[in-house]
């Protein structure tokens, strides 16, 4: 670590508690001027808590924050903080009822005079173009999908002109090309001397854009090192506290005569996808890939009943669930992980146990009653299976860290031993270890005889699939069997190799 000058940012022995949870325990971080510094750790290690302290949203119970050697502004002085640091938070800070342009320039729409909306929109368009975000600046932010919202947040933080920028899992909801564009921006900013803190569970990204890395584990600082001095396995073992083991996709063979558990026939939804046919057999995992507006999310959401298709049929275990009705699809034996966990994933005020058992409540007691004991037992098993970091089954999901909330959503999908599974970006925001657990859970389900559709922007996730169906502009263009190389699949997704 270059010790030459005062660090740009320093947090010293910070402690932060939430009720019984100690989110940060005497932890600290030192980030030197001009570097891109990675912060990694398992879900619930306290990364986002540090972010909220470094951006002045929360006051630490103990410890202090220094910017260029000077104490940070007081918590009330929001302008002071804003001058020091810009941030992409893990939780969305987009205001749905306002337009994209206004979100982009929130609280800085104008200098002193009245706001000139026309020029604001023009400025917004410039920024959006610069970051390659293809949305109309006049649209309501609430109409954007998660990915577009994430891009908007990133564009906002980067365009702010701050000398220190924090990015808390910016890539978790982006696809490959968007991540690449982000990294280009980050490199450009670094060449202008901007300091950055970067949080991600994709360790290869750390190696791509960061110079140094700090690891947190169980609310404590474990180590800080230059990236090149820390090989991948050592980084993982620092995070997990045990030796790393790479994830090996299991080999499976699907009987070609196994029953079709989930199928789409001639499915079309205007503006999203057209004429899609898909059949998933028992014991099979089918990947669904595609970049930018390929329609894969729309298709997956139709399969589970979040949308009603304009034409065509969906079958689950031979049944035809009522189009646009999730519960009848679930009743037919489907399990489902939605794209946006905050929207369709969980009820923040309800406990882990209740969220995870929502679809199986009818099995947890007689005559419509739900036995708290049974529910607790089920939930404890899920917590253990998926290694959810929580104070217990009764903790509200809203209080969990992002990755752990994602695991609860996964637990909910698997709760009913579904015979058909549709999972959309299931590992978004989930740490390396947990990712293995989640993907393992999908494979387990397949081994039990379920058929799964796995929609993901991450090539790593798709490796467990028996075949990957690639969509391009709303149509299925190719089916790639197991054993593909990254470049090959990307080429198909980009539409280069669609024979």
């Amino acid at each position: 670590m270059p010790e030459s000058a005062t660090p740009a940012v320093e947090a010293r022995s910070v402690t932060k508690r939430f009720g019984p949870t100690t989110a940060l325990d005497d932890a600290g971080i030192v980030i030197s001027e001009g570097e891109t510094h990675a912060l990694v750790g398992r879900n619930g290690a306290g990364k986002s808590t540090l972010v909220s302290i470094l951006t002045g949203l929360q006051r630490p119970d103990q410890g202090e924050v220094l910017f260029a050697g000077r104490p940070a502004p007081s918590v009330a002085d929001r302008d002071g903080w804003r001058r020091q640091v810009a941030c992409v938070y893990q939780k969305s800070t987009i205001i749905p009822a306002l337009t994209v342009a206004e979100n982009l320039f929130l609280n800085r729409q104008s200098g002193h005079g009245p706001i000139n909306w026309r020029s604001l929109r023009a400025r917004a368009r410039d920024v959006l173009d610069q970051y390659g975000v293809d949305v109309d600046a006049g649209r309501l932010a609430g109409d954007l999908d998660v990915e577009q919202r994430q891009l908007l947040e990133i564009a906002r933080a980067l365009s702010f002109g701050a000398r220190f920028i924090i990015l808390d899992e910016p890539t978790a909801r982006l696809d490959g090309p968007a991540i690449e564009r982000l990294f280009e921006r980050m490199r450009a900013l670094r060449s202008q001397g901007v300091t950055m803190m970067f949080i991600s569970h994709h360790l290869e990204e750390v190696y791509q854009v960061c110079q140094s890395v700090t690891v947190f584990r169980d609310a404590r600082h474990i180590l800080t090192s230059a990236v090149e001095d820390l090989p991948h396995e050592e980084l993982v073992s620092a995070m997990t506290g045990e030796a790393a083991a790479g994830y090996q996709a299991r080999s499976r063979t699907t009987a070609t005569d196994a029953a079709v558990v989930l199928s789409a026939e001639n499915l079309s939804l205007a503006g999203r996808y057209q004429d899609v046919d898909l059949a998933v057999r028992a014991g099979e995992i089918v990947g669904l890939a595609g970049s930018g507006s390929s329609g894969k999310i729309g298709l997956a959401e139709t399969l589970v009943g979040l949308h009603a298709a304009d034409s065509g049929t969906v079958r689950v275990n031979g049944d035809r669930p009522r189009p646009g009705d999730v519960s009848s699809a679930l009743r037919a034996g489907l399990g489902f992980v939605p794209q946006d966990r905050h929207k369709e994933g969980f009820v923040p005020l309800l406990s882990v146990a209740e969220n995870a058992t929502l679809p199986i409540a009818h099995k947890l007691g007689r005559f419509g009653a739900v036995s708290p004991v049974l529910r607790r037992a089920r939930a404890e098993r899920m917590i253990e299976d998926l290694a959810i970091k929580t104070t217990g089954p009764s903790q509200p999901v809203g209080d969990l860290s992002g990755g752990n909330a994602q695991k609860v959503v996964m637990a909910r999908a698997l709760a009913d031993d579904p015979t058909a599974l549709v999972v959309i970006n299931p590992t978004s925001g989930v740490d390396v270890r947990a990712k293995q657990a989640l993907l393992g859970a999908v494979e387990d389900a397949a081994e039990r005889g379920a058929g799964a559709v796995l929609v993901s922007d991450e090539l790593d996730d798709l490796r467990i699939c028996d075949r990957v169906v690639v969509m391009f502009h709303g149509r299925i263009v190719k089916e790639v069997p197991r054993g593909w190389a990254d470049a090959e699949l990307v080429a198909v997704m980009e539409g280069v190799d669609a024979r």
Partner: protein, 347 residues
């Protein structure tokens, strides 16, 4: 008081198991979950104050009076609390309190006693009354769920329409030629206590059990907390919300029935202005207007707090001139007390 660890009915599965990272202030989180108990200290304090002010306060008679006087309000609060937890609103409950019994009575009594003139069999009176409550709830639900109108304005409109219909049908007259059956529930005593108290107790017990331990009850919380997530988890949200509105209408009609019996007539303004108190009791009891939060037990506590304050002010003989200011002041203080003892921000 604040160290209680009794699992409250509304938050089952609540015992927080031991955890590794637990260091220090464990009780904070545990307590936060018992915000529905927040009013218990206030209630006890009021009991003590009442007893000190006036020996008659603690007499069985007086306490029974307090309870009986709150029965209709508490049924409305039960209805409203459920609807609020489901993330909706119903302002029209107060009109149902008047209209349902007015029609129930008006359709069966002769025109000479201000009846409507249909002279239906008297035995149909009570079923009609309750059915009208359910139908009003169903109609509200229809407008809100099918036509996607705002619950607040639909039920505000209905509040005015229903009251207007009652005045229209009865010409603003009170109906006092009540069939015996209408008087029974409001006046009977079962096992030494007014029947209406038993009815309320049963309704609350059922509500607490269903919202605490039954699938459909829990799904109300899920819907109020995040309707998209509830739908994605297979809850038939529209159906549940609709049912909640109908149950709400039913309870309001039942409250109207009890009030009719207790007061011996259907006043043209029966229930007028109650909805404010209903919201006050529910919200004081910890039910959030945002949905998904609060318990029926808490709401019941809210009702009791308001009832006790009223009773104590009456017993204390506060001057007519200042009674309202004092009443409001005590409510504010009770709230702050609840805030301090529960230690959690309200919303």
């Amino acid at each position: 008081m604040t160290e209680t660890t009794v699992a409250s009915p509304g938050t089952p599965g609540g015992s927080p198991g031991p955890r590794d990272t637990t260091r220090g202030e464990g009780s904070g989180l545990r307590l936060a979950r018992f915000r529905d108990l927040a009013l218990v200290p206030a209630i006890l304090l009021l009991m003590v104050v009442g007893a000190l002010l006036e020996p008659a306060f603690l007499s069985g008679d007086n306490l029974t009076n307090v309870l009986q006087q709150q029965t209709e309000l508490s049924l409305l609060v039960l209805a409203e609390a459920m609807i609020l937890i489901a993330g909706k609103f119903d302002l029209s409950l107060e009109s149902t309190v008047g209209l349902a019994p007015a029609l129930g009575v008006g359709l069966v009594i002769p025109i000479a006693s201000n009846g409507i003139g249909t002279d239906l069999p008297v035995a149909l009176g009570i079923p009609i009354c309750l059915l009208i409550g359910v139908m009003i709830g169903a109609f509200n639900g229809l407008l809100i769920l099918r036509f996607k109108l705002s619950a607040f304005i639909v039920t505000l409109g209905m509040l005015i329409v229903l009251r207007g219909l009652q005045i229209g049908f009865t010409g603003g007259q009170n109906l006092f030629a009540l069939p015996e059956s209408f008087l029974y529930l409001g006046n009977a005593r079962w096992l030494g206590l007014p029947a209406s108290i038993w009815i309320c107790a049963v309704a609350y017990a059922a509500g607490i059990v269903v919202l605490g331990y039954f699938r459909h009850g829990r799904s109300i919380y899920a819907i109020g907390g995040n309707v998209d997530a509830a739908r994605a988890a297979g809850v038939r949200t529209d159906r549940v919300v609709w049912a909640v509105f109908m149950i709400g209408g039913f309870l309001a009609a039942l409250a109207g029935l009890l009030m009719t019996g207790r007061l011996g007539s259907v006043a043209a303004a029966q229930g007028d202005g109650m909805i404010f108190t209903v919201f006050a009791a529910a919200v004081i009891g910890g039910v959030s207007l945002d949905g998904g939060k609060g318990t029926l037990f808490g709401a019941l506590c809210g009702v009791l707090v308001l009832g006790l304050i009223n009773n104590i002010l009456t017993l204390a003989g506060v001057s007519a001139q200042w009674i309202q200011a004092i009443y409001g002041g005590i409510i504010l203080i009770a709230l702050m007390l609840a805030r301090v003892t529960s230690g959690k921000a309200q919303d």
